[in-house]
């Protein structure tokens, strides 16, 4: 009886969560005239016909979404690689080495994580213009190769649990810091790397503020940014906009379906124990 009620509640909430996605997907197979029919038709007119991919073909061919998807993929992948590199290194240092100012630096790293990006964006924009990085991917990618709060925190927490016998054995073998990091710590951090890569990939794929500020060349846009531009330029082309929406969600959906345990684990490990 009680389980029945819980199951029903779960179904209601699942409907509220999934229906909007489903509605977007269905409508992305509508023609422009069909999508504005009243009352709204549940079944899209193009689905199942030879023209069913028309909207997708149009946004790819006429609106360059193939190019934008590639741009997003390129930026998000590099950011993910950068974060793995820099966060595992700094996590290693914070977990295994002692030095003056360690706590201060680590706290600064964590505190700056809570600050909304809008607080730092104006001086950052100035720095980016001074470096001549406007209209390049550098301001979107380079920061990921330098600093990451969440990743550093995650690697530090994990590297503190590596058995000290292992570290001691490597010390006796004469391992120097870089060998230690590379031979002892890196080989043990596969899951952490996957998690951090996915989180970074998602955040950068979805980012909006920095692309709209730093990219003006139309060919360089990211998918997320292109969607907002498309939305304000072609207010009546909902069938195309929704197809673009599907396209922007799809890669993340695929990653999520196959690697959800890494993603869900990360939202737990982001601090419950800290």
């Amino acid at each position: 009886m009680k389980k029945c009620l819980i199951f029903m509640l779960l179904c209601i909430f699942a409907f509220i969560t999934i229906f909007p996605f489903l509605w977007m997907l269905l409508n992305s197979f509508s023609s422009e005239s069909h999508i504005f029919r009243l009352p709204p038709a549940f079944w899209p007119d193009l689905l199942g016909t030879p023209n069913m991919w028309d909207n997708y073909r149009t946004i790819f061919k006429e609106f360059n979404f193939d190019r934008y998807s590639f741009n997003s993929l390129f930026i998000a992948t590099l950011c993910g690689i950068g974060q793995i590199f820099t966060c595992s290194l700094s996590g290693f240092v914070f977990a295994q080495m002692k030095f003056r100012g360690k706590n201060l630096i680590f706290s600064t790293l964590l505190i700056t994580l809570m600050i909304p990006p809008q607080v730092t964006i104006i001086p950052e924009y100035f720095i980016v213009t001074r470096l001549n990085w406007l209209d390049t991917y550098l301001p979107l990618i380079i920061p990921s190769f330098l600093v990451g709060s969440f990743g550093t925190f995650m690697f530090k927490e994990y590297y503190e649990t590596i058995p000290s016998s292992l570290v001691d054995a490597a010390i006796i073998d004469g391992a120097k810091p870089f060998t230690m990091y590379y031979r002892v710590f890196i080989p043990q951090s596969g899951p952490q790397m996957v998690t951090l890569f996915i989180i970074t990939f998602m955040n950068n794929w979805n980012d909006l503020l920095r692309p709209i500020l730093y990219l003006s060349d139309e060919r360089k846009q990211t998918v997320t940014m292109a969607l907002t531009q498309f939305q304000s330029q072609y207010t009546a082309k909902w069938n195309l906009l929704l197809a673009g929406g599907v396209l922007s969600v799809l890669p993340l959906l695929i990653i999520f379906i196959f690697l959800q345990r890494f993603i869900i684990q990360s939202s737990v490990s982001s601090g419950i124990k800290g």
Binding site: K2, K3, I6, F7, L10, F13, A14, T17, P20, F21, W23, L38, P40, T86, L89, S90, V93, M97, F99, I105, T108, L109, T112, M114, I115, P116, Q118, V119, I121, I122, P123, E124, F126, I127, P143, F145, L146, V147, E160, D168, I171, K176, M180, L208, L209, T224, L227, L242, S248, V249, L252, L253, I255, F256, Q260, I264, S267, V268, G271, I272
Partner: protein, 295 residues
Amino acid sequence: MGKHRLAWYNSIYPWLLLLPTLIGLIVFRILPIAGSFYLSFTDWDFLRAPQFIGMDNFREAFSNPSFLQVVANTLLFSALYVTGIMIIGLFLAVLVNSKVPGVSFFRAAFYLPVVTSAVAVGIIWRWILSPNYGILNNFLQIIGINPPFWLGDKSIALFTVSFIQVWKMSGYYMIMFLAGLQDIPISVKEAALVDGANSRQLFFRITLPMLSPTTFFVLTIAIIDSFKNFELIYTMTRGGPQNATNTLVYDVYLNAFVHYRMGYSSAVSFILLLGVGLITYLNFKMKKRWVNSEY
């Protein structure tokens, strides 16, 4: 960690290995925060050199009714978001913590909007809420309700946008609450059941108090998170209608990169920073009162 280790690294190594992080921290975080603080006392259009004008930006902000509305909007959005996300997050966590068929499917489903971009979420919901062609309003008309303009009516647009942010983020908070629920030892619940507690007593007298450290942590995250609504506002309303959904993060963008008032915008961003800091500080101050620290 061993306390009496051989010296396996020269004291220069930590700094050497931390070099990328230090550069990044200074160039992309500390310098911009300091720069933003300095700029908030200047008049700057980005082309000429900044002019120092003292507290004028702050004075202007607080004497400007539309800025005060932005502050009110931000606080209302935060209050609605934090309340919504805490209640629904906990409710979903309790639901998916029970042993019913397909529970892992439900967990994944609720998490789906979290991985979706706010831009895509904004587009989906603008279509659903569209006044004439949206499925929601058409459905409401069929069942005889006269539907409002969800995003066009300035008295409800902010509520609509906060609801959508709650819809998007509930799964994230569900997972955090779920981890907390699963940390509560089963023996305690069993003992309470043996003592004759009913399920309502079990929840309010045992589960909720024992969950309080998690609740505190989740609340802290939720408050910080509640200010980060730029993408959704940008996609759904651009601060409109008539400033009704303009929040601090969007106002910073608007003043800096649409009106090119960098100094004034920095002042707004600093007010935002102080607000986030103050609320987080108060939250930690009050932690003692309600967090069950014995557990």
